[in-house]
């Protein structure tokens, strides 16, 4: 993956964030077992930092709750994202960061799929194929330089 140093989208639109999830009493009760829901998956990815701007993927409207689906029967998680501009060269890196964050945080039983919203990028098909090839994703995350960039994107302020 090539990384350019030029800013791709100089003046992005900033969107409002969703409210924090309100804790239910049952959330703290260890005797209650409930499935991971799409809001929880969304919470994992909405705080990912954009590689170019000091903004999160949610603030840039790259990810939204509607783009997240989870099937606890089939153990599948699907995330759709929307690059800010259709020729964004950072799209692969953003997708890789989403994927990395989910691989590192979700239980291993889930099969994760990450795709660009239909029509949101000129190289949609090629990028989707790369992002869902586990061999290429594994190799990319083993690459020290790329791994450092991804880690900067997925690091939370507490880290």
């Amino acid at each position: 993956m090539e990384l350019s140093s030029e800013l791709q989208n100089l003046n992005p639109t900033i969107y409002e964030c969703t409210e924090e999830r309100t804790l239910q009493e049952s959330d703290l009760n260890n005797d209650v077992s409930d499935n991971i829901d799409r809001r929880e998956v969304f919470d994992l990815i909405r705080t990912i930092n954009d590689p170019e701007h000091p903004l999160t993927l949610e603030e840039l409207h790259v990810v939204d709750l509607e783009g997240v689906t989870i099937d606890n029967e089939a153990n599948t998680v699907q995330v759709q994202f929307r690059p800010t501009i259709p020729h964004c060269s950072m799209a692969t890196l953003i997708g890789l960061s989403i994927r990395a964050k989910l691989i590192y945080t979700l239980p291993t039983r889930y099969k994760v799929g990450v795709n660009i919203y239909e029509g949101a990028h000129i190289q949609e098909v090629q990028i989707n194929k790369q992002l869902n090839d586990k061999e290429r994703v594994t190799a990319a995350l083993e690459n020290k330089h790329l791994c450092a960039v991804v880690n900067r994107c997925i690091a939370t302020p507490d880290d």
Binding site: A74, T108, R109, K111, K129, D133, K134, E135, R136, T138, A139, E142
Partner: protein, 341 residues
Amino acid sequence: MMGELIELQTLEASDDRVWCVAWNPTGTLLASCGSDKITKIWGREGERNWVCKSTLSDGHTRSIRSVAWSYCGNRIASAGFDAKVSIWERQGQEFVLQTTLEGHENEVKDVAFSHSGLYLATCGRDKSVWIWEYNEEENDFACAAVLTTHTQDVKHLKWHPHKDVLVSCSYDDTIKMFIEDNDDWSCVCSLDSHTSTVWSCDFDATGKRLVSCSDDKTVKIWHAYEKNNQEGIRSPNGVYPVWKCVCSISGYHKQPIYDVKWCPLTGLIATASGDNSIRIFREEESKQRDVPPSFSLIASNAHAHSQDVNRIAFNPKEPGLLASCSDDGTVKLWRIEQKLM
């Protein structure tokens, strides 16, 4: 005819993903490798128990994607994401690093010894397939050809069981075949029918049929039509057979199919998938001639592993003995039992 897939043993091979398993030609040793950058050799202790006999480390600095045995059984080759291919030679009970083949630009994804013992082939993300010729006097491998026919990374290699014909599978959705003619290696055919990455392929015992599996979640059976075939299918160059897809098996796997093997002893086909399952198919016997082959599922385990199954291997000597490996860090041994209904 039905069957059963019986789990014999689980080997805790690694704390990380296990990418590949491979039997030695006599079926007495099993090699495994993966993200922990180590190749392990497993052997029998007593009648049924498999244990780790030796560990090959220091060969790679990144994940080992694939491991292969030479047909004499004295050499192991491992392919790494560190762009290197390591050749290990047997010395007594141990395997010692003999040489490292460098040439690929980045990740090497597969390595395969030819049955003739003359060649070694490697492939990788740089879209190339390299053919290395073995020099017995110098006990070394020299590059004989770099084939750049594929337009995307090359995932898997397979040599024909009786001829020096090499088959490659790629991210460009195609399967290609290469032969040597007057010291020149060239692509003689391209099998284009899969709609996504072709992850693996295998010949049947005769070498006249090939099975392939893909990210498109299908398995395809290909048949070679020789020169002057009865069906009247013409070969474009008149010499090399034409390969046609004669059967497509779909609807069984929910995720990409990462490996397929055609057992030379039993004729069974086994598939390994990202949906954690292993499935076993058997060809339906047909009374009529000239009808396309059909395959039926005779055994399966939807939860063969707790994560993706990356590779499977039929023991070359013991019919029905199958090894598998997974992202869950384990290697498993299975026995396929066929029984009449």
